[in-house]
Every structure is written in C-alpha cells, then in structure tokens.
Symmetry: C2
Subunit: 465 residues, 2 copies
C-alpha cells in the first residue's frame, strides 16, 4: 500500500477501508454503507452539533425528503445552481407522477413555504431550527468516501430574523459554534468570504470554513450563508412588525456534513491508519492484556479490573480476544483509538501499566494506582496536541505570493483588487480556486497580482476538493 506521503489519494481510500469506517461496495456510485464503526463516529459528531444547537436555542425538526418541482423552482438562482445535480422521482408504483419531486439537495425550498405559515409576528422571531438528514447531489466529479458522495449525511441549520442585522448576529453565533466544533474535531480552518461568483445559489453572501489537508488541497468543511430576504421574497415569508407593517424576514443557514469526518481522517491519519480525537472516538482507551504462559489469568483479571475502574470516566474497551497482542495493536491503531493501555507480566510485577498514544510514538508507564487521573490527563493532552499539530501544519502551508506564477500546492495568499475579472483570470491561469477573502479583514500592502492596481484585501488561492 502506498504511504500517505507517496500517494495521498490512494492512502486515503485504503485507510478508511482498513478502519472499517465505510463500505464502498454498495452498487451505486457515491452511495456508501455506514458500517457500525463509521456510524458510531459520525453519531458522536452529530452529538456535538446537537449539543451546540441546544446551547444556542435551536430546535431540531425534520422535513420531508421530497420537494415538488413547483416549490423547488420558485427561487430562480437557487434552481439554476442545482438543476444539474438533483435526482428526480417521476414514478410511484405504476403511475407517472403529475408533478415530479426531487430528492432534497438542501432544504430551503422544502422548509420556507412552511416557515411562511409558522411565522406571523415579530414575537415568533428569531426562528432557529436545524435538522440532520440525508441530502442528495448527482455530483459528476470523482467520488471519495466522506469527501465527495452522492448521498450526503448533512447538518443544516435554518434561521429567520427581523432584519439583516439580527441575521448577521446569527452568522457570528454560527462562527462560534464552528470554532468549538473545529477544536473538538481537531480540524483547524480558515474562514473565508467566498467570491460572489462562488456563493451559494440565492445567498447574499457565503462564508466557508476551509481546512488544509495533506492531499495539498483545501477542503470546505462548513458553510454559513446570509440570505437577507432573497428566499423570503420567493416564498413569501413575512411577519407583522411592532408598528403593524408587514416585513420580509432575513434568513441564514449553516451547513456541515460527513466531510468533517473525512477531514479528520485526511488530516490526522498516518500509515498505521486513522487517528481519532478523543472527543469523538467511540473507544477512547483500549486495554490490551499481554499474556504470559502460566500467568494468563492473573493478567487478564487485572486487565478487567483496570477497564472496570476506567469505565465511569472514559469510553474504554477491554480487548480480551484470543488473538496475538500485535494483531490487536494493528487493528486498534487502524481504527484510530487515541490511547492504548498494555498490561504484561512486567507491568504487573512493577505495579504499572504501559500507555501508548496513537498520535505520537512515545510510550510511558503509569503507576497502577494513578491510572484514572493520568489517563484523563493524557486524553486531554492528545486532544490539544492533535489540534495544535494540525494548526501548525495549516499555518506552515500559507504562503504569500507576488505573481500568479508563484502559486503552488499550498494556501496562496495574494493581493487582490476585488475585480471578478482578475479573479477569473487568476483561476484560469493557475487551475486553482479563489477561496475568497478572510472574514476577519487582513490588510495586504501591495498591488493586485493580476492587474497591478492597489489590492483592497488579501485573498486565498488553492486547489480544492
């Protein structure tokens, strides 16, 4: 098998399979099977999202999958953006449907006709909802597990507000939520305001969280859109203001998907397999007894006690299968368990256990009586170190360029006058994509690298997934 350094793409495909995170043998391209292990990781990521949504006062809802063509076509830009990639249900039983229905590629057009019924007065606002559902996009690019699939495990928050300013506050709240998720998943990112030609169809503006992957491309892991009243006008979502007048709501959305899991795999995996951050690892600690002839039962008993003590504090698994320890190490490393505790005859004699971190190669011994606090401490350190390492790597790949020719497989930072013409020319000449301008403005002294006029902002250019 190729190493991560030799061939990132091949390595990625191999590693998700070895970890048994997904099964790609389902007979429809881009539609993969969530195995028990993969689903348990994704469910933990969903759990973090649900916790954040509860904290910020969003309600979980669940809208139908099928959207009648008539509803779908109401927002013109939106439909133009999606018409190449929606799946259509045209038949039910033996009947042709009068009105075809598409599988949701995203849920604006399913939700907003209902929002129009739910929202009556300013007292109903802000309306803050989210759902976690499958969405469907007939993407013609090469598919890749978690990163580019046709059935997408999707998170979408939809909110409605009295005005653009309140919607803007929502965007800021979403950014905070994203910050906290990025830390827990150990996925650092740059927050960019997408150029106008690349914003979400129907949006006033789009922000995207772009992570850096060792595949030398950026990966969009989340988007936050401010719609202003674009959709409200198409779906007639209005409220009665305090002064009795009828006003359109202003809306936002916040989208994430299984790509977050793909980012974790891409960023933290190595030639041994996947490495999961403790915050989302279904098994945080695996206890592996190393038996010795004649002392098997003493070692096994102690391993059981050890796992039992840890159970109340961390997600621990005792691997007492009748399999060589080396094979167990290999398997749990491939699956990305953050911490392994070994217990052999020498450990038993010395009153210690041996701890091996998945994210580093150092092994330490922990006094047996001190296991619970030290394991908890180690998990916290692993969590921090994984984030810090990824962030260092991302920062190291941000390079300032002064001409289009200098652009390389990195996050190229350049001066831009803001003219779309220059943007398009740069994308064409480099074969890369402009990620946009940093949401928190970054000054850039110097000329636009395309036309030479003064730059109005720094901008980013990279190859993307």
């Amino acid at each position: 098998m190729p190493t991560k350094a030799q061939d990132f793409n091949e390595w990625y495909n191999d590693v998700v399979e070895r970890a048994a995170l997904t099964d790609k043998r389902y007979p429809v391209k881009g539609m993969n099977v969530w195995t028990g292990y993969g689903w348990s990781v994704m469910a933990r990521i969903d759990g973090l999202m649900r916790r954040e949504m509860a904290r910020t006062g969003h309600e979980e809802v669940n809208f139908p999958l099928l959207i009648p063509e008539t509803e779908f076509r109401k927002e013109a830009e939106h439909i133009r953006g999606f018409e190449e990639e929606v799946y259509w249900v045209t038949r039910a039983g033996k009947n042709e449907l009068d009105i075809p229905m598409c599988l949701r590629p995203t849920s604006e057009t399913a939700m907003y006709p209902i929002f129009a019924l739910w929202i009556r007065s300013h007292a109903d606002l802000p309306l803050k909802t989210f759902q976690i559902v499958s969405t469907f996009r007939y993407d013609t690019k090469q598919t890749r597990a978690f990163l580019r699939v046709r059935e997408i495990h999707f998170f979408e928050a939809h909110t409605a507000h009295v005005d653009a300013a309140d919607a803007e506050r929502q965007v800021r709240e979403d950014m905070e939520v994203m910050e906290s998720l990025g830390r827990e998943l150990c996925v650092p990112y740059l927050l960019n305001r997408r150029p106008d030609w690349d914003k979400f169809p129907g949006a006033h503006y789009s922000l995207a969280a772009d992570a850096w992957t060792p595949g030398l491309r950026t990966l969009q892991v989340a988007t936050i859109h401010h719609y202003r009243d674009n959709f409200a006008k198409a779906y007639n979502v209005t409220y009665e203001a305090a002064d009795g007048s009828r006003q359109f709501v202003h809306q936002t959305t916040y989208g994430m998907s299984e790509r977050l899991l793909g980012a974790v795999v891409a960023i933290h995996g190595d030639d041994k397999g996947v490495a999961l951050p403790p915050a989302v690892a279904p098994v945080q600690v695996v206890v592996v007894p190393i038996p010795e002839k004649g002392r098997q039962s003493a070692i096994l008993d102690e391993a059981r006690r050890l796992a039992g003590e840890l159970e109340a504090h961390v997600r621990v698994k005792l691997d007492d299968r009748d399999v060589r320890p080396g094979a167990k190490f290999y398997e749990w490393e491939a699956k990305g368990v953050p911490l392994r505790l070994e217990l052999g005859p020498r450990d038993l004699a010395d009153g210690v256990v041996t701890a091996a971190r998945r994210d580093a190669s150092d092994r330490t011994t922990i006094p047996r009586g001190d296991v619970v606090p030290q394991v908890r401490d180690l998990l916290l350190r692993i969590q921090k170190d994984m984030y810090a390492r990824a962030e260092r790597d991302m920062r190291a790949h941000i390079v300032d360029i002064a001409t289009p020719e200098e652009a390389r497989e990195a996050i190229n930072r350049f001066g831009w006058c803001g003219d779309p013409e220059c943007g398009h020319r740069l994308e064409q000449d480099t074969g890369m994509s402009i990620l946009g301008t940093p949401f928190e403005p970054e000054r850039f002294d110097g000329p636009c690298i395309v036309c030479g006029k003064p730059a109005t902002s720094a901008a980013y250019l990279a190859r993307t997934y």
Copy 2:
C-alpha cells in the same frame, strides 16, 4: 371540535395538531413535517429502541436510500409485494438513469448483497444490525399523521444466523424487546402470527403486535419476521460452517415506526389533548406559578427554586411566561405533559405545591420539603396506571364469537380450522381482517365458525388501520 367519543378520526386529526406534534400542511400528501415538539417525542422513542439494541448486542448501521432496480428485483415474492408502492428515481440532473432506483420501502434488498460480503464464516454469526431511517411507500389509502404516511420514520433490525433455530431465538429476543417498549410507551398489544396470505413478502412467517385503539380498530405497531433462508438464497448470503461446508444463513427482521407515537396519541389522548407516558415525555413536569398581586416575585422565586430542585431528577420546565395560568394549563394539557405542579399564594402560605396528573382528574398537595421523592413516585404511578388502563381497555374489547354474524367492532376471538378458504370467506363476509393466531397458542374448544369442522386454534378478527 368533535370529542374522542363522538368522532375518533376527526378528534385524532385535531389533537395531533393542537399538540403541535406534526404539521400536515407540507404540499405532498402523506409527507408531514416533524415539528420540534413532535421530533423530540419521536427522538425519545428512538432512544428507547437504541438502548434496547445496545443491550442485546445489535450494531447501528446506515444503508443508502436508493436501491437499483436490478437488486430490488432479485427476490420475486418481495418485489411482487411492493411493486405497487415504491417511488422510482428515473432522472438525475438532465440525464435519464440507465437503471432506475427505488426509494427503500424497507431495506432487505439494499442490505443483503452487502451482508453477503460481510459474512464469511460461522464466526461472523450471528450478525445483528439495525438502522433508523426514512422509508417510502406510495400508499393509496387515506393518509393520517403517524398512522399512515408515505414517508415513514422507520426502525428496522436485520439479523443473520447459522440456522433456523438460532433465528428463532432472535425472534424471542425481539419479543422481549417489544414487551419492554410496550410497557414504556403504555401500548399493550396482542402478538399474532399473521395468516400466510398476509405475511411479509418473502417471509417464512410474520408476527405482528396489534394494539387496540379507541377508533375501534386494531393497529399494527410492530412486526417480526422469520425469513429462514429465503432472502439468503436470492442474495447468496452464505457462511463456511465448522465442517467446512457452505451454508445459507437464516435471517430475521424486526420493524417498528412512528406508528408507535400514533398509538400513544390514539390510546391515551382525550378531549383535552395528547397524554404522554413519563418514559417518553420531553417535559415530564411543568411548574406553573399562579401569581397574586403584590406577591408575584415571591411566588416566581419559589417556582424557580422548585424547578431547580427537580432538574437533577426529572425533565422539568418552568413556565414563567406572562400568560394567564389557565392558558398555560390548556397548552400543556394539549401537549400531554404528565404532571403539572402549581404554586399559588395559598400553596406558598401552606408550604405545599399542588400536583395535577394529566392522566387523571385528581389534584393532590405535596409538602414542599417532600417534592422530589413524591414527584418521582407520582411519575412512576402515572406510567403504571396508563399502561394498566390501556390494557384493561384492550382486554375488555376481546369478545368470543360463535358465528360470523356476531362479529363486531372489537377484537373478535373465534375458532378456526386453519383453512385459508374459511379465512378468506370470513374476511369477505365481515369486511374485517384476520389478525392471525396468537403466538402463544390458545386452545379453543369448538368448531370453526365458518365450516363447522373442529377448530385447530383460536384466531382474531378485527377492523384494522
């Protein structure tokens, strides 16, 4: 609005709406919106299923929604059973698909080609999986929230075993799980073995849990199917036995859906609204302060303390909105909160709170210092009483009949020779359905009520949803 006794169907429609459990205004028939409240109840029901699945060693998986027609057609009986009611995706973007794909009506044909890859030897068995997903059935009967919908919130467990006997053990385990869910949801049921002509397409036999509803019909709330090796042969799901031979697996499934929520509404609701069992109520206790001029803040403070004390023990909500107490009572009763605690000036002076059970009309006072244990105790009693009341009602509606003419709007118990001819004639003459024979055999002394030959078993006949 009609009362439950006057017009059950109208009452049902009204009550799910008043409780805001669902929004039926989505523009596709039989596809409703899960509101925040409805979803939070369903999520609790799903949570009970997940707990039971974890306890019994099932792994949660998630298979793709779309099934290629070629896979779907492999089990002949199965496809005949579903071909009138599947939705077909025939177009993606602007392309006609070479092979149409159906939206899963259930997942046998999606899963079993993959099971064939997962299962190699007897060591991989039993394989115990489940998923909670939307399924789709183009049902042409009248739709009704939770009871008959076209996008169904569905639970499906799929298992594979070395032989029919081990699959039979699985059926018994599923029955235990169902027993525990029935208790927690306060939905008693009869477990019937469906007549052969009504079993699941492709099954060796089908068991169904039939609940009794005040609509004077039975409602199928769960099914357990023993497939033997019918699907294994169609999808080539085999394993290497200990003796080296290649054997087909034997399979079972266990299905439940949002109908469980519909059953709770139908059985326990009344003219005030829905009544939820404490086990699945998102809010178990609502605290309503009854303010009095001049003492508002003292009462509100005490209500806050009260809710705060309960928080660690039960799911409590303090309703401190600036709304008349009567309006609050009305709303929380409609939503089915099991217990209301009122705190007014007299309560404050007497050092008590007033407790009103949703499932009964009695009000009691609880000494303020004893609130936590007494509230917990009350919730347990509500849970038990709701189940007992529903079971009494079901039992009261089981009637023995000696001739087809005696059949009435009840669960009619009758003697049957087992001949399908007699069964079909009885169904035709009464316009009712044979639920089948009780899974735990019940002797029935007397003749078959159709042909007069000796009955081989008791059987049940009822109108069904």
